[in-house]
C-alpha cells in the first residue's frame, strides 16, 4: 500500500468542514476517491477545494481545522 500526501496548494487557512456548524469532510479511516473534497484552504478570502488526488483511505489528518498552512505543507496522508 502506497502512502500519498495531500498537500496544500497555496498558503492560507485550512478548514476541515464547509461551514463552522457542518460535519468534517472526512475523518481518519474514510474512503476517498481521487476527486473527493477533503478540505478547504482559504487564501485572501477565496476558498479553494482540496481534493484527495488519489483513491484510497484517509490514514492521518495532520492539520487542525482553522490552522494556518504553507504551500506544499502536508495536510493528510492517504493509504492508496
Amino acid at each position: 500500500m502506497a502512502q500519498h500526501d495531500i498537500v496544500s496548494p497555496l498558503p492560507g487557512t485550512f478548514y476541515r468542514r464547509s461551514a463552522p456548524d457542518a460535519a468534517p469532510y472526512v475523518e481518519p479511516g474514510a474512503p476517498v476517491a481521487s476527486d473527493t473534497v477533503v478540505g478547504l484552504v482559504e487564501v485572501m478570502k477565496q476558498f479553494n477545494d482540496v481534493e484527495a488526488g488519489v483513491a484510497g483511505r484517509v490514514a492521518e489528518i495532520l492539520v487542525e481545522d482553522g490552522e494556518p498552512v504553507d504551500a506544499g505543507q502536508v495536510l493528510m496522508r492517504v493509504e492508496a
Binding site: L10, P11, G12, T13, V43, M44, K45, Q46, G66, P68
Partner: protein
C-alpha cells in the same frame, strides 16, 4: 498581547504642531491593517497625533507597524482572533492610552456594537455614532430613512405583496421588468425576474413556494429590475450638526461585486443630475445627524436618467482618494479633526470639483488564472511617480504579503485636468509600475485601459464580468501587458 516596539518620542512636536494642535486626540489607535492603516497613520502624523498600530501574528513586519509610533500585538493571524476581536482592540487602546479608535474600512468599521463599546469605554470612535451605524446598517431602516429625507429609492412594493392582484397593480405602477425578491432572502438568492404581466402571473406563485421552501417564509416583494445599472456613490462629510457632499464617484467596473476601477466625477451624469443626486445625499446625511465621512450608494438607471439610493457605508471607503483628488480635501484628516472636536470647517460652497481622477485597485490576484490569489514575497517593487500620480499601499521591497486577508496591495490614483488626460496619465503610470514576486491585477488594468467602452466611460455594473468571459483566452496568455496596452502606455 505584547508591545513589539517601545513608543518613540511622539513625532508630533515640531513642524506639524504649527499646522494643527490636537485638542482631545493625543493618541489614536488604528484598528485595521494594510493600506488603510498606513493611510490613517499618515493623516494622524500630519495632525501631530501619536498613531498606534494593532497587529496580528502575520503583520508584525507590516508597514503600518513600522510607521506607527507603537505597535501592539493583538492575536493570531486569523482575523476573528485579531482585527475582529473587539476585546483585544479595546485592551490595546487602554494599554497605550489611546484617546480615539479609527476603525478604517471592513473588519469592525460598521459594527454598531463595537462603536458602542468604544463610546462606553470613554473613547472617541472616529466615525458616526453607534446609533447612526445601527440605523443605516439595517437595509429596511435605511430605506425608510431615505424616503423620509425625500431621497429616491428603487421603486417597488411597500413591503410584502399579499396577492397576485396586488402584485399586478404594483408591477403596472413601477413598470416592467420587475424583480420578485424573497423577503427572507439576501445576497442575490431568491430573486426572479418578470418581463411582463403574463410572466408575473407564472413566476409569482413559484417564487412564493420557492421562498417558503428555501427560507421558511413565503413572503415576496417587488422591485423594478434595472438591467444596465451604473453604480454611483456620493461622498458626504458631517460633524453631527451639519453635513456637506464632496460630489460623486462612479464604481461600475466590478467583478463579483468587488470594485476594480473607480473614477470621479462620474462620466455618465449631467450637471443637473449631479446637483440633484448630491443634494439628496446631503439631505439624508443631515437628517440622521451624520458625523464623519460616509458614502451613499446609488443605482443610476441611464435609460431613464433616474437614480435610486441603495445603501449607506458609514465609514471611509477604499476609493476615497479619487474624491480627495478632484476636491483637494484630505478626507481622512478632516474626519480626525472632526473626531477631535472641531466643527466642519467647510461649507458646501467651499467644495469645488476640478479635473478627473481614476483609481485602479492593484490586487494580489492572477488575471491569467481566473484571479487566483497570489500571496508571497515582494522581490522587486517600483512605484509610478511624477505629476498627478498617487499610490496608497502597504508594500515595500522584501515584504511578504500574507495569505490571511484581502488581496488589495495598492491603489494607483491618477489625477489630471480632464478625463482624456487622466486616461493618458493612467497608461503612463501603469507602464512605470513594476511588481515582481507576486502576480497582480495590473495587466487587467492595462487591458481595460485599451477598451473603447472604458475609454468612453460607457459601462455598467455587469460590463466587466461579460468583458472578462469574452477575453478569458486572451487574459490567459502568459505575456505581461496586452500588446495594445503596451503600445498605448509607451
Amino acid at each position: 498581547m505584547s508591545a513589539i516596539r517601545q513608543p518613540d518620542a511622539p513625532c508630533a512636536d515640531g513642524a506639524s504642531a504649527a499646522f494643527y494642535r490636537p485638542q482631545r486626540i493625543r493618541t489614536v489607535l488604528v484598528a485595521n491593517r494594510g493600506e488603510i492603516a498606513v493611510r490613517v497613520i499618515r493623516a494622524a502624523h500630519e495632525l501631530g497625533m501619536r498613531a498606534v498600530a494593532v497587529v496580528s501574528d502575520a503583520d508584525r513586519d507590516s508597514l503600518a507597524a513600522r510607521m506607527a509610533d507603537e505597535a501592539i500585538h493583538i492575536g493570531s493571524s486569523h482575523a476573528a482572533k485579531s482585527y475582529l476581536n473587539a476585546a483585544a482592540i479595546l485592551a490595546a487602546a487602554q494599554r497605550c492610552g489611546a484617546d480615539a479608535i479609527h476603525p478604517g474600512y471592513g473588519f469592525l468599521s460598521e459594527n454598531a456594537a463595537f462603536a458602542a463599546q468604544v463610546e462606553a469605554a470613554g473613547l472617541i470612535f472616529v466615525g458616526p455614532s453607534s446609533a447612526v451605524i445601527a440605523t443605516m446598517g439595517d437595509k429596511a431602516k435605511a430605506r425608510e430613512t431615505a424616503q423620509r429625507a425625500d431621497v429616491p429609492t428603487v421603486p417597488g412594493s411597500d413591503g410584502v405583496v399579499a396577492s397576485l392582484d396586488e402584485a399586478r397593480a404594483v408591477a403596472a405602477a413601477i413598470g416592467y421588468p420587475v424583480m420578485i425578491k424573497a423577503a427572507a432572502g439576501g445576497g442575490g438568492r431568491g430573486i426572479r425576474v418578470a418581463h411582463d404581466a403574463a410572466q408575473l402571473d407564472a413566476e409569482l406563485p413559484l417564487a412564493q413556494r420557492e421562498a417558503q421552501a428555501a427560507f421558511g417564509n413565503g413572503g415576496v416583494y417587488l422591485e423594478r429590475f434595472i438591467a444596465r445599472a451604473r453604480h454611483i456613490e456620493v461622498q458626504v462629510l458631517g460633524d453631527g450638526r451639519d453635513a456637506i457632499h464632496l460630489f460623486e464617484r462612479e464604481c461600475s467596473l466590478q467583478r463579483r461585486r468587488q470594485k476594480i476601477m473607480e473614477e470621479a466625477p462620474s462620466p455618465s451624469l449631467t450637471p443637473a443630475l449631479r446637483d440633484m443626486l448630491c443634494a439628496s445625499a446631503t439631505r439624508l446625511a443631515r437628517q440622521v445627524g451624520y458625523r464623519s465621512a460616509g458614502t451613499l450608494e446609488y443605482l443610476f438607471d441611464e435609460t431613464r436618467g433616474e437614480f435610486y439610493f441603495i445603501e449607506m457605508n458609514t465609514r471611509i471607503q477604499v476609493e476615497h482618494p479619487v474624491t480627495e483628488a478632484i476636491t483637494g480635501i484630505d478626507l481622512v484628516r478632516e474626519t480626525l479633526r472632526i473626531a477631535d472636536g472641531e466643527p466642519l470647517r467647510l461649507q458646501q460652497h467651499d467644495v469645488a470639483m476640478r479635473g478627473a481622477a481614476i483609481e485602479c485597485r492593484i490586487n494580489a490576484e492572477d488575471p491569467a488564472q481566473d484571479f487566483r490569489p497570489s500571496p508571497g514575497r515582494i522581490d522587486e517593487l517600483v512605484w509610478p511617480t511624477g505629476p498627478g500620480v498617487r499610490v496608497d499601499s502597504m508594500l515595500y521591497q522584501g515584504y511578504t504579503v500574507p495569505p490571511f486577508y484581502d488581496s488589495l496591495l495598492a491603489k494607483l490614483i491618477v489625477f489630471d485636468e480632464s478625463r482624456p488626460a487622466a486616461l493618458a496619465r493612467l497608461g503612463r503610470a501603469l507602464s512605470e509600475l513594476h511588481v515582481a514576486g507576486v502576480k497582480t491585477t495590473a495587466p487587467l488594468h492595462r487591458a481595460l485601459l485599451a477598451d473603447d467602452a472604458v475609454r468612453a466611460g460607457r459601462y455598467h455594473t455587469n460590463y466587466l464580468e461579460a468583458w472578462l468571459s469574452a477575453r478569458r483566452a486572451q487574459l490567459a496568455a502568459p505575456s505581461e501587458p496586452a500588446p495594445a496596452a503596451r503600445e498605448e502606455a509607451a
